[in-house]
Symmetry: C2
Subunit: 191 residues, 2 copies
């Protein structure tokens, strides 16, 4: 998606060590118009997968998942990293390594909102190693649901997450696909 | 706002001890159409306050703040509760008590995205004691910005947060205003 790619080139910061900072329009400050356009694009790409629910992980997945949900007219569930007091005792819980925290974090979903036979579209901000998305896949499967598609705003091709998702046999779409974050600060895209 | 009030009556759960569970459409699962309608309503109510930026707190504030931002065409910043590695060393930080965690949490904003002279509209999911919103007010003021309005999806009138915000002299709007969460499970609204 050209608009997102151009924005990454303009405002993204390659901090080195494979870290891309997009805090000015995705992760801390959010550009609502860009996020809405990304949601519209995900809705177009996943229009025919038959999704009944969108699934994401707090915190940074919420914005793109919500705008996608608005354009598809589907409810969105975000996995929590801490169990709130309003959640029942029995939950679906898995562990996933956090890139930015350097440790494992919990991903928790209440069975109230992810039931048998849902067709789940996973939307997140980044597809890097694929570990968070695979955590969401495990939660969906534990609930008896089926994943029908996976979308990420930004893919870091060089981290290999796509390969880890291949066995699922579902469409994996990223709106900006980065092939290299050079040590010179350069950001290179596929295409 | 009738639509939100009816949804609270239909799907909200009064768990006792002043806790209202709205996890099926606000806090864990999000109804995107309802959230979009709430954003449109906030945009209407705050159309004339001259806001230049919307401010909220992760996690549950993100959805209503984002839809409000879409309808007002303004960037939204969400205060982080943990400092990510992409954030600079110098930040604005304050502490606020967390209702659902029973302890103090940090609210952190990077000076990159909240600068001098912004006119800040604060949007959050709940206005209860007002402690989180007052934390956001402190962050805004620390940056040299000015708060021009405060909006919450759901206000618990009986927790007195509104009084704590009065001295700011800005419009405070809630879309559903609860006067009582009865011990019999009843939910009572103003009007």
């Amino acid at each position: 998606m050209k608009e997102l790619q151009e924005r990454i080139l303009q405002d993204g910061k390659n901090l080195g060590n494979g870290i891309l900072k997009v805090d000015s329009f995705v992760n801390h400050q959010v550009d609502p118009m860009l996020m809405d356009a990304c949601g519209r694009e995900f809705a177009r790409r996943f229009a025919n997968v038959g999704a009944t629910k969108i699934l994401t992980a707090e915190i940074s997945g919420i914005a793109p998942a919500l705008t996608t949900a608005i354009h598809l007219g589907l409810p969105v569930v975000y996995a929590r990293k801490h169990k709130p007091i309003t959640m029942p005792d029995q939950v679906y819980l898995t562990l996933a390594p956090s890139h930015t925290k350097g440790r494992m974090v919990e991903l928790i979903i209440s069975p109230e909102y992810l039931a048998n036979d849902e067709k789940v579209l996973i939307i997140d901000d980044f597809l890097a190693s694929g570990a968070t998305i695979l955590g969401l896949v495990r939660l969906a499967e534990a609930s008896g649901s089926r994943v029908v598609g996976i979308g990420a705003l930004i893919e870091k091709l060089f981290e290999g997450g796509r390969a880890s998702l291949e066995s699922l046999g579902v469409p994996v779409e990223s709106l900006a696909c980065i092939t290299k974050l050079g040590e010179d600060g350069k950001i290179e895209f596929r295409d």
